[in-house]
């Protein structure tokens, strides 16, 4: 079947008539859009706005400080590679590791079990970040550690829930978004229901898409189609991977291990019920309780406009620090750190402000 990216792009040019602003919520979408140069093939009527869907970017400074403080206290701290370079006042996991502290890269949450066995006489802490796609792995780790009676393992649960953030943006009168490209993998877990508020409450198209360039273009095309036809809906164009009901086992595990809590999103502020904390039966695995950590939400670095970038109010080249004081080597804000942070992606891939 002749669906390839260039032909979708061509089609999109034909159907897009009214100017639209569409937000891609997910950082993986952001990066795929930049790396494939999608912006350069879109019709001028279609404006893409990058959203807060990079777990690195939205992890609050206070949360990073908490992880570093545990390193300082002698714990082994395990984290996904994505988190290593994120700076806060006290440094980063990478800079702590370079001073000989035990920050370890893991590629899966379950690797933390072996670390806890290897360092049986030390505290091993997992820095749990990410959205609903990632949180089930942490939940499974905690459940398994509980089953095995492992005593030296705990978790800093800084996981975040996507729907509250998306609703905040949908409701923002300044943004005037025309629709949302929704994160395919979050929806693999959550299903369709948590995003139905988009068409039902705000009259906005919500399209769940995969991450290949052609899948993204197809998702965008469907948002345009919904607008052109005046029929906003929630739809998945990600094939059979996303089921309407999501992944029941994953949802059950999240329900078993976590409860909602108010959580600070870096650059955005506290969003009610947008975080996941360990429930009472698992509180012995809660590193915040175990080490008596009280999170202090960080203040954004002076001059950094991450909050506006993360909510799509400005694009990075509009930040005065972009490419001058703020580069991937010495990032001012977290959006510049991550490979999928909006500022980082603009810096690396965007020709617009250079030619």
């Amino acid at each position: 079947m002749p669906i390839n990216a260039p032909s979708v792009a061509e089609l999109l040019g034909k159907i897009s008539r009214t100017p639209l602003s569409v937000m891609e919520v997910c950082g993986t979408h952001t990066v795929s859009i930049f790396r494939s140069g999608i912006r350069s093939v879109l019709p001028p009527t279609l404006r893409l706005v990058s959203g807060p869907g990079c777990p690195v970017c939205v992890t609050d400074q206070g949360e990073i400080e908490a992880a570093l403080s545990l390193l300082d206290r002698g714990a082994v701290v395990a984290a996904y590679g994505d988190m290593f370079k994120v700076p806060c006042e006290g440094g980063s996991l990478a800079s702590k590791r370079s001073r000989g502290l035990d920050a370890r890269v893991v590629t899966g949450a379950m690797d933390v079990l072996s670390l806890a066995e290897e360092y049986s006489s030390r505290e091993v802490v997992f820095l749990g970040v990410g959205f609903e796609t990632t949180a089930p792995a942490t939940a499974a780790l905690v459940a398994e550690a509980a089953r095995r009676g492992i005593r030296n393992l705990s978790v800093l649960s800084f996981h975040k829930r996507t729907p509250p953030a998306v609703e905040l943006l949908a409701a923002d009168p300044d943004l005037r978004l025309s629709g949302f490209l929704l994160p395919g993998h979050v929806c693999v877990i959550l299903g369709h229901d948590p995003f139905r508020f988009l068409p039902e409450k705000y009259g906005l198209p919500g399209v769940i898409a995969g991450f290949e360039p052609d899948q993204i273009l197809l998702g965008l095309a469907d948002i345009v189609r919904q607008h052109e036809q005046g029929a906003p809906a929630l739809r998945s164009v990600y094939g059979k991977a996303v089921k309407k009901e999501g992944n029941p086992k994953a949802l059950g595990l999240l329900e078993e291990v976590f409860e909602h809590r108010d959580t600070a999103w870096r650059g955005i502020g506290t969003i009610p019920a947008s975080g996941l904390a360990l429930k009472r039966p698992y509180e012995s695995f809660d590193a915040e309780k175990r080490f008596g950590i009280s999170l202090r939400p960080g203040t954004p670095p002076a001059g950094c406009r991450c909050g506006e970038v993360l909510t799509g109010k400005i694009i990075p080249p509009e930040c005065p620090l972009f490419r001058s004081a703020c580069t991937p080597l010495s990032p001012v804000g977290p959006c510049m750190v991550s490979g999928e942070g909006t500022c980082g992606a603009y810096f690396r891939y965007f020709k617009g402000d250079r030619s």
Partner: protein, 79 residues
Amino acid sequence: MCLAVPHTIKEILGENRALASAGAVRTEIRTDLLDDVVPGDTVLVHAGFAIEKLSPEDSEELKSLWDELRALAGEPYAH
């Protein structure tokens, strides 16, 4: 947000553990989040966990979307 890569199940290693391949890569994954995973299944893996099974693409939905878009563009149906 969440890199996830399709893997093919090669071997069930025990409760919630399987050997899988992603292209030429062989790796051990967790299957806690899925029921009834069997060798040959294609699953989407994120952070070491299979988060969903992928069925052989049913093109009907995609075909109908494509048709809708072409109609909107005023192009004739190609099939």
